[in-house]
Symmetry: D2
Subunit: 284 residues, 4 copies
C-alpha cells in the first residue's frame, strides 16, 4: 500500500451506469454492504460528469463497463479521489472487481491490502482564431476525425512548437498509456503499461503519409491544425466535443492530474489482463 | 490494341470537373483539338452521374483528379464506353495523360497505338427488412462505417451465405483491385494489379476482432449485416449512400460490367505507377 | 462429391511422422481398420519425400502436424493422389480429422460423403549464371531470406519480366493461398481461401522499401534476383534448399499440379477453421 | 550549448570506416584541418571496438555510415566522450555532417555553437545455466532470432521478473529510442525521439502470438528465455554475439551510460530528419 492511500474510508460514492438499470441493484447492494460497516455510502444512478461533485469522498466505486469507470475517473481526477471499478461490461480493462467477487475485493481495500495506481491524464484545448472555445480532460485519448463523408482530413502537426509532419488520414489519435489499450490499439498502436508517462500519436487510415505511431515524452505539447473540405470532429474520451472549422487548432498536453485507481492484485497485473485477451485463441 | 478497341472514333464525350473551372478550359481545348480532326466532341462541364448519357460515344475523356475519372468510368460502364483520363489532380492513379502530354496521347489513341484495360466492378445492394432500398455500382470500394460518434460497429459477415466472422470496427471496406490502391491501401490492405478479378475485404480499426485482409474470388457474394448502437453509413465509391438502420443488410458482388480504360503505355505500367509513389523518399 | 473422387479405394498409403513415434501406433490402427474393410493399406513410418512413391494409391493419409500433411501432399501431387490428414500436431490447418474422430471420418470418405479440394502449387527454380541448379515444388511458400548475420538483403523483383520493385528486407515470401495462412500470415499478409489461384508476395521486415503485400494472378511469373553482402538462403515449404550467391535468380510460378485434399465437412469450413483460431481470446 | 559541453577541444579522435578506403582521405583532411587550429588529432583507419581507447579525447569524429557512427559511439560511451558523425553512407540517421559541410560544422562545434544529445544505452547479459557468458552494450537494439532454418523460436518473456507473454516468432527485438528508427522500424515498431528513456519490445513475424509492440519504462528489466528446436542467435547492435542453447536467458536493461552526440542544428531536427525520409514519394 502506498503512502497516498487513505487510511480510513468514511465516505464512498457509488456511480452506476445511468442507462443500465441492472447496475442499480448492485449499486444498492454495495451501498448497503458499506453502511453495514459504518461507512457513509452515496449511490448515484442518474449522474453526469459535469454535475457530480466527489468532494468528501474517500473512494469512488464505478459499476458498469470501462466507459463507466472512465467517467468515474474523470469526475474524481481533479480532487484525487481514488476509484475502483466493478465490471458489468464486456471487457473491463480498467475495472478491478466483478459482480461475483466485489465483497472480497472491497474488504481487502478497507483493510488496506491494496495499492494506488496513478495514470496520466491529458487535456484537449480547442482554439478557433486563437480563442479557446473548449477545454476538457481525458484519461484515454483525444481524437480528431473526419465526419461521415469519406474525405481525408489533413492534420498539420507540431510537437513542442516545431512542425513535425502533416498526416492525411481519417483521424488522428493522441492517447495516454491508458488509452494505448483502447482505440489506439485498434489501429496498430503500441501497448504501454499504465504507469508510464508517455503520449502516443497514431493516425487512422493514413493515406500516403506517415503511418507509424509516435511515442513522446509526457512533457510534449502537441498541436494539431486541422484542414478539411468537409467535416472534422473532436472527440475526447469517446465523447463528441464538437465540429471543427477548417484551420482550428487543438492543443494536447498532460495535465498535472492523474487518475488514481485502487488495485488489490499484483503490480504486474496489467500484462496478464491485457495480453491474455489479445492473444489468438489457438494459443496453447 | 485489343479486339475490343473501337476502330474509329466518331464521337467523344469530354467530362470536366464540375467544381473546378480550371478543367473547363482544358476541356474546351481538347474538344477543339478533336473537332479539328473531324471528330464530334461534346464537352460537359456541369454534369452528374445520374443524368449523363454516354450513348453514341466511342470514347470518354475525364479531366480532373482520380475522382473525376472514377465518375466518368461509372457513367460509361454500363455501355462499355472506354475512358481515358487527363490528370489535373493530386495523385492520378487512374489517369493516363497529363495537361502537358495529352495531345501526343490522344494522337496515339486515334491511330490505335493503345490497349483497353478492363477493371472489375462491384455493386452494393442495401436491404432493410428484406426490401432492397438502394443498389449502386462501384469501381473502387463499398464502405460501411460508423458515423461521427465514436462507437464501434459490428459487421456480421457472410461469404457465399456462410457466416465468416463478425468484425468490431470503425468500418468495413469491400474493394475491387482498382480500389486496393485507394482507401483499402490506407488501412493495410494488399495491392492487386487492375486486371485481377478478386475482391478484398478489410476492416478499419478492428477492435479485438479479425484485423487481417481477406482476398476472395470475384465470384464471392459478401453479405454484411450491420449492428450499431448509434449511426452507421454506407458509402459507395466515396459517395454517401445513406444511413443504415440496425440490422440492415448490404450485399456486395461483382456485376457483369467492367470499366474500360484506354492505355497507351506498357501493360506493366501499373507497378511503376503505384510502387514508385509508395516507396519512402529516402530510397536511393 | 466431385467427379474427381475415386469411386473405390483399393489401396491406401499411410504416412506417419518419422520423428514422432506416437504417430506410429495410430498409423498401425488406421491400417488395421482399413484392412478389416478389405482395403490394402501400407503404413510408412520412416519415409522421406524423395523416395516415397505413391503409385497405385487411391488415397494417402498423413498422420502428424501440418508439416506431415504438407509433406504427404507434396509426395502425392504429381500423381494427383488425394490426401487426408489426421492431426496430432499443434494447429492443424490442413488436417481434416483428429485422433478421436478419424474412424467416422474415414467411413464417410469410403462411402463417398466427401469432396476434393484442389490447391494451387508453385515451384521455385534457382539459377546461378543462367544455369538451373535446383527446382522444387511448394504447397505453402518459397522464401528467400538473410542468413544469421543481420544484414539486409536486396530482392530485385520482376513480375512477368518487368521490374516491379526492389525490396530491402530480411526475407521475401512468395506464397500460395494455402501458404497465406502459414508464414505469410505472421508478417501481415492477407488471408486467401484455399480454392483461389492467386500468388501472394510479402516482404519480412522491409526497411524503407515497399512493405505492402502484393496479390497476383496465378499466371504471374515472379523472378527475384538476390543481392547480399553476406548470406542469403532459399527455403521451400520450410525446407532449406541452399545458400544463394550474390546475383542468383529464383523464378517462382504456378506448376500445373494441384494438391488434392479430401474434405468431409462444409465447403466453407475454411473460414471457421482459420478465423476462429485467429480471433483474440477476449472475443465474446 | 549545455553545461556538459567541453569548453575546449585539445584532443580529437577520428574514426574512419576500416573497410572503406574512401573514408581514409577524408579522415586525413579532417585531421589536418584540426591540427591547423592547434588541436591534437588522431585519425584511426584500422580500428575495432575492443581495442580502441578514447581516453584523453574531447571529441570523436566518426566517418562512414550509421554503422561507423554507432561503433564510434559504443567506443566512447563508457568515458562519456561526445561523438559527431560525417555521413558517407546511405542513410545517416545518426550523422550530423556531410562531406560537403563538415568544415562549417566543426567550426560551429569548436566555437561552442552546439549542444549535446544524450541517448540511452542498454546491455544484453546472456546466461547459460545461470552463468553469465557474455555481456555487451548496445545503442540500437538487442535481437534474438532464429538461424537459417525456418523454425519458429519461442521467447518466454519476463518484465521485472513477472512473466509477460511468450512470443512465437522469427525474432524478438529490444530496442532503445535510437534503435526505434533502425531494425525495429522495419517490423512495425513505433518511433521514439532520441531523448526518451523508454525501451521498445517488438517481435518479428509473430505467429499466432502477441504481435504488437510494447513500450516500457527505462527502468524495466526484460528477461527472455529462448526455446528452439534448431538454432537461435543473439545479435547486439548488428554484431553476432553467438548461438544460444535451448533455455538460455538474455537479460536486457538500461546501463547507466549514455551516448553523447554533438548536434549543431535545432533540437527538433529529429522529426525532420526521420519523417522526411519515411514519407512516400508521392507526398506533395
Amino acid at each position: 500500500m502506498t503512502d497516498e492511500h487513505p487510511r480510513t474510508f468514511k465516505c464512498v460514492g457509488i456511480l452506476a451506469h445511468p442507462q443500465r438499470p441492472e447496475t442499480f441493484s448492485l449499486a444498492d447492494q454495495v451501498a448497503a454492504w458499506l453502511r453495514a460497516r459504518d461507512i457513509e455510502a452515496t449511490a448515484l444512478m442518474h449522474w453526469d460528469q459535469e454535475h457530480t461533485d466527489p468532494s468528501g469522498w474517500n473512494l469512488a466505486i464505478g459499476i458498469g463497463g470501462d466507459g463507466t469507470v472512465l467517467r468515474a475517473a474523470r469526475v474524481c481526477a481533479a480532487l484525487g479521489v481514488p476509484v475502483v471499478g466493478i465490471n458489468m461490461g464486456r471487457l473491463g480493462f480498467l475495472a478491478e472487481m466483478s459482480p461475483s467477487n466485489w465483497q472480497a475485493g472491497l474488504a481487502a481495500v478497507l483493510r488496506g491490502d491494496c495499492w494506488i495506481e496513478e495514470r496520466l491524464m491529458i487535456e484537449a484545448e480547442w482554439s478557433t482564431n486563437s480563442n479557446v472555445v473548449y477545454r476538457e480532460e481525458a484519461l484515454n485519448e483525444v481524437v480528431i476525425s473526419r465526419g461521415i463523408v469519406a474525405r481525408i482530413v489533413e492534420f498539420e502537426t507540431y510537437i513542442d512548437s516545431a512542425w513535425t509532419t502533416t498526416y492525411r488520414a481519417d483521424a488522428l489519435i493522441i492517447a495516454t498509456p491508458t488509452g494505448s489499450t483502447a482505440y489506439a490499439l485498434a489501429v496498430g498502436g503500441p501497448i504501454l503499461p499504465p504507469e508510464l508517462r508517455n503520449l502516443v500519436v497514431v493516425p487512422v487510415a493514413a493515406h500516403l503519409s506517415l503511418d507509424r505511431p509516435l511515442v513522446l515524452s509526457g512533457n510534449a505539447v502537441i498541436e494539431v491544425v486541422t484542414h478539411c473540405s468537409h467535416q472534422a470532429v473532436l472527440t475526447v474520451d469517446g465523447r463528441l466535443a464538437g465540429q471543427l472549422e477548417d484551420g482550428d487548432r487543438v492543443t494536447i498536453r498532460a495535465t498535472g492530474h492523474v487518475s488514481r485507481f485502487v488495485r488489490t492484485g499484483e503490480r504486474t497485473y496489467f500484462y496478464r489482463s491485457i495480453l491474455d485477451r489479445m492473444e489468438p485463441k489457438s494459443r496453447i
